[in-house]
Amino acid sequence: MTDGNEAVDLSVDLPGLPMKNPIMPASGCFAFGQEFAELYDLDVLGAIAIKAATREPRFGNPTPRVAETAAGMLNAIGLQNPGVEHIMKEELRWLEHYQTPVLANIAGSTVDDYLFVAEQLSLDPRVGALELNISCPNVKEGGIAFGTVPDVAAELTGKVKAVSHLPVYVKLSPNVSDIVEMAQAVEHAGADGLSMVNTLLGMRMDLKTLTPILANKMGGLSGAAIKPVAIRMIYEVSQAVSIPIIGMGGIQSVDDCIEFLLAGASAVAIGTANFTDPWVCPNLIQALPQRLKAMHVTHIQELVGRSWKAWVTQ
């Protein structure tokens, strides 16, 4: 810590993701970047988490797919994506215009699905690391056990590690009794990092039709509403594992980012806030140094886990 005259070092070196700053868009809230590239230079971002890739193309769930909740939203997109082949041929090719490291999110309903997609994506030089989405609440077939049963999650992680040379981040579901158990299981199986958290499973009713608003009935709750749950889980898990955490869940402001770092995240991802303000990522990246200076922080990594690292010298 310092008097605040030097420059602030925002860089974070995560496995497979050498980030110049700790901020990336969250998977599924940024598509493959094209829409945002019309608004700003994607190379300002610390990294980019692209939308989940599945083996085959998926249309996803019927509409309505989103509903609003207090300080949050529900989504039941259902992993709509053009399939891994198309993603590699089109989206990742297009991303070659940019240097920012890419975190490729993978979803599936069977172990084989995950392995197939992981193997394919590992061939792509544009991908810096894989993010296993074992926690998507919006897909019916199988899937749910991957995100809630530690052994199942660990087995999947181990198998993906075996077919890929890339670092693997496991994206944890908050819909569990014991998040630490899940985190330790996947760490033990070889995960290089964790992404936390995916959405909480939620629901809204339509008072006109007397039925759920979402065609899929349930959806994933994201946005500011879930921030305290995400922070709590990161606080618990970061003390129990030694792999880095990408934190997410309701981040809207620079102060939110700092709360996640204090809790134990090494970097953060911004999801829902991109829908409120499409420029939120560059805005936060721009505002961060000043806030850190005011806090007398020179290296952003000083803040990581600071809330529980009593031993950190001040």
């Binding site: 829409e35 998926r58 509409t63």
Partner: protein, 262 residues
Amino acid sequence: MMQAERMRIVSHKVLAQNIYEMTLEGELVQHMSDPGQFVHLRVDEHGDTLLRRPISLADYDKEMRQCTLIYRAEGQGTAKLAAKRSGEGVDVLGPLGNGFPIPQDLAGEQALVIGGGVGVPPLYNLSKQLQACGAIVTHVLGFASADVAFYEDRFKQLGATYVATVDGSQGKQGFVTDILSERAIAADRVYACGPLPMLRALEERYVGSTIPLYISLEQRMACGIGACMACVCHLQEDPTGLRYKKICRDGPVFKAGEVVLT
């Protein structure tokens, strides 16, 4: 080109029961290119309403740098919008989407413009532009009742205007389709915006005919810019069921028959 701007409310008034007309001023108007485009409004800067609200352009005037929106205050977000006063700023993202196609020269052509409820607003600027391109425009507008009807006079200034209300309190009792069935209104092209049942009835009537029909669709949206996949619809001619259009980016206006109405 879409942009975000804190536009200033230059007027805000009640048009009918729970129906508001808001005029905004700002640079963003320069980028508006077609009637049927919409803006995405942040109703609440430090509150619990995270999602923006999509509202069509009812009218815009590049010289004045002004655009007009007409909306129904229904749920929480539009109620917050309705509470804003002239002089305040509103965070606007837009213009978004693709509007109604208007050929340059429509001299002597008959254009039929059909709207229902809060589907009527985008048709106002459409009709102005159709008329400016030389078309003879006829309007058929449907509302629930006289209490919630608006702009009949304005449309009359642009062409023949027939109104239907469900309860018969203004114009003909019934639906817009009743007017269409009753009168043989000549049309070389048809434009429509309104509730799904109305659009479905119009598809039945015009798809397959030689008269092109353009419809504007609605769907619950998150991003409004094509990134979240909230607002997709299936294509009609698609055996795989995998192809789609995003209403926010590829629409909201489609040629009838192109996408599946849901």
